[in-house]
Amino acid sequence: MELTKAQAWMADFAATISQNAALLTDLDRQIGDADHGSNMNRGMQAVIALDRDFPDAASYLKKAGMTLVSTVGGASGPLYGTFLLRFAGALTGQTTHDAHGMARAWRAGLEGVISRGKAGPGDKTMVDALQPAVEAMEAETSDLAICLTSGLAAGEQGRDATTPMVARKGRASYLGERSAGHQDPGATSIVLLLEAAARTLA
């Protein structure tokens, strides 16, 4: 992956988060603590304020991940941070920039999220958008653009599927049955990350 692409991805994601911060916070108000939008926005503003001088995409995304860890807090900070750190780790040493590599990087990120947060499918978390997205990418490795758009489509479906779920992880789990009927904020922001990727990384 080229450095400029990685930077365009983060810039696009930051802009999208900023536009959707109120929506994300509002979703979090319903089943959480009303801060997912401001958390992500604070973090992504710090990411785009980073120096633009990096040797490659991997070192840039690593720094972006550390920045999220250092500025976001809450559940999403370590999770998004770990995602980018692992994503960057999978890029390191990659020479070709194809759909295979892309899917591998997303898979690495997903696994970081799972190992940090211990959530599984159906727990009503960002994993429910991220996991189907990664699986769809892995099934579409002929073309990078197609890979990313099918990842996005699967992520959207995964996000929508969180609405009826009863949360078992994160703050929403405290609500028990009352968490059903609300879309998960973290799954929603993952789709924004996928959208930004589809727009910038192909």
Binding site: G32, D33, D35, V72, R116, R168, K169, L175, G176
Partner: protein, 333 residues
């Protein structure tokens, strides 16, 4: 939203400036990392106690920094756990050579950020870090497959008792043991009459009608388990005591009873509720050995109340009575 603030982005950092100005004798503040530190720390040879979490629960945790309680508190954004950098900075600052204990409330974010910080502090500086995770809220159904219970009121009692034990020179293993035991023997239940407004969100997290209350709330303005018609104080006392006693047997040993205002409930009502709760406890055969009434672990301006019972023993009571000198809790000196 009406708040006495300048801008939603600077609430926490400006409150820390005020805290430092108000308590220059007892506190030192690392503003870059938003860490409230004991003025006379690190205390050499003493285990350092670090807690922290989202802001908006004042006086917890920053108000509990001082002799006989915490060595440092990390202030996250309002209702958002602190980041590992802050926790690492606190851990380094309080290390007196005897290791550091992290006191963490059981929220996904808090647990993950403290974990990352502990990993980094151990890797970078070789500081021995242990952690205790407080999860005492009986409103949350607990299971192996969920995030577990929230950490609420027991945290205050734990910080006081373990703080006294650390001050007395107990080592990290002993502190971890007693902290874990306290966490296992404390139970809490809360209710709210109103929600509260996170500054950055600008409107209340949930809405309650004038004849409704919310039972089983946490400390982040989040809705609870059940919305009920507004109850009398006597009924409300039952609703708080009953699930706590159903979860753990509190008879047969001395109990610390902590009735906590959520921020917007006046002390007049808190005392009235304490009286109602004391009646129910007496009828249930629970012996209250110590009590604490006041707004100590709050949700901004939320109106409501929580009850925490801690099954104590003589050692814990002695530590409870030991001197403490913090802005939020002070006695014996």
């Amino acid at each position: 939203m009406k708040k006495l603030i300048n801008s939603v982005d600077n609430v926490v950092s400006e409150a820390l400036l005020g805290m430092e100005a108000a308590h220059p004798d007892r506190l030192r503040i690392d503003h870059a990392n938003r860490v409230v530190l004991r003025k006379d720390g690190p205390v050499s040879g003493k285990v350092g106690l670090v807690s922290g979490g989202g802001s908006g629960h004042e006086p917890m945790h920053g108000g509990f920094v001082g002799m006989g309680m915490l060595d440092a508190a990390c202030a996250g954004e309002v209702f958002t756990s602190p980041v590992p950098d802050q926790i690492m900075a606190a851990t380094h600052a309080v290390d007196g050579g005897a290791g550091v204990l992290h006191i963490v409330k059981n929220y996904t974010g808090d647990v993950m950020n403290f974990e990352m910080a502990a990993e980094m502090a151990a890797a970078e500086r070789g500081i021995r870090v242990e952690a205790v995770v407080v999860d005492d809220d009986v409103a949350v159904t607990d299971s192996l497959y969920t995030a577990g219970r929230r950490g609420v009121g027991t945290t205050v009692l734990l910080e006081k008792i373990v703080g006294a034990a650390a001050e007395a020179g107990r080592d990290l293993d002993a502190l971890t043991e007693i902290a874990t035991r306290i966490s296992g023997q404390g139970r809490s239940m809360g209710l709210a009459l109103t929600s509260c407004t996170v500054p950055a969100a600008g409107k209340p997290t949930f809405e309650l009608a004038d004849d409704e209350m919310e039972l089983g709330i946490g400390i982040h303005g989040e809705p609870g388990r059940e919305r009920l018609p507004m109850a009398s104080a006597a009924q409300a006392a039952q609703m708080l005591v009953e699930p706590v006693l159903a979860d753990l047997d509190f008879t047969g040993s001395p109990v610390i009873c902590f009735v906590n205002g959520m921020g917007g409930t006046p002390l007049l009502e808190q005392y009235l509720m304490y009286g109602e709760i004391a009646k129910v406890l007496q009828a249930e055969g629970v012996t209250v050995a110590r009590s604490l009434v006041g707004s100590y672990i709050t949700s901004l301006e939320m109106a409501g109340l929580s009850l925490t019972l801690l099954k104590a023993d003589e050692d814990m009571l002695t530590l409870w009575d030991a001197p403490v000198n913090t802005p939020g809790l002070r006695w014996g000196c």
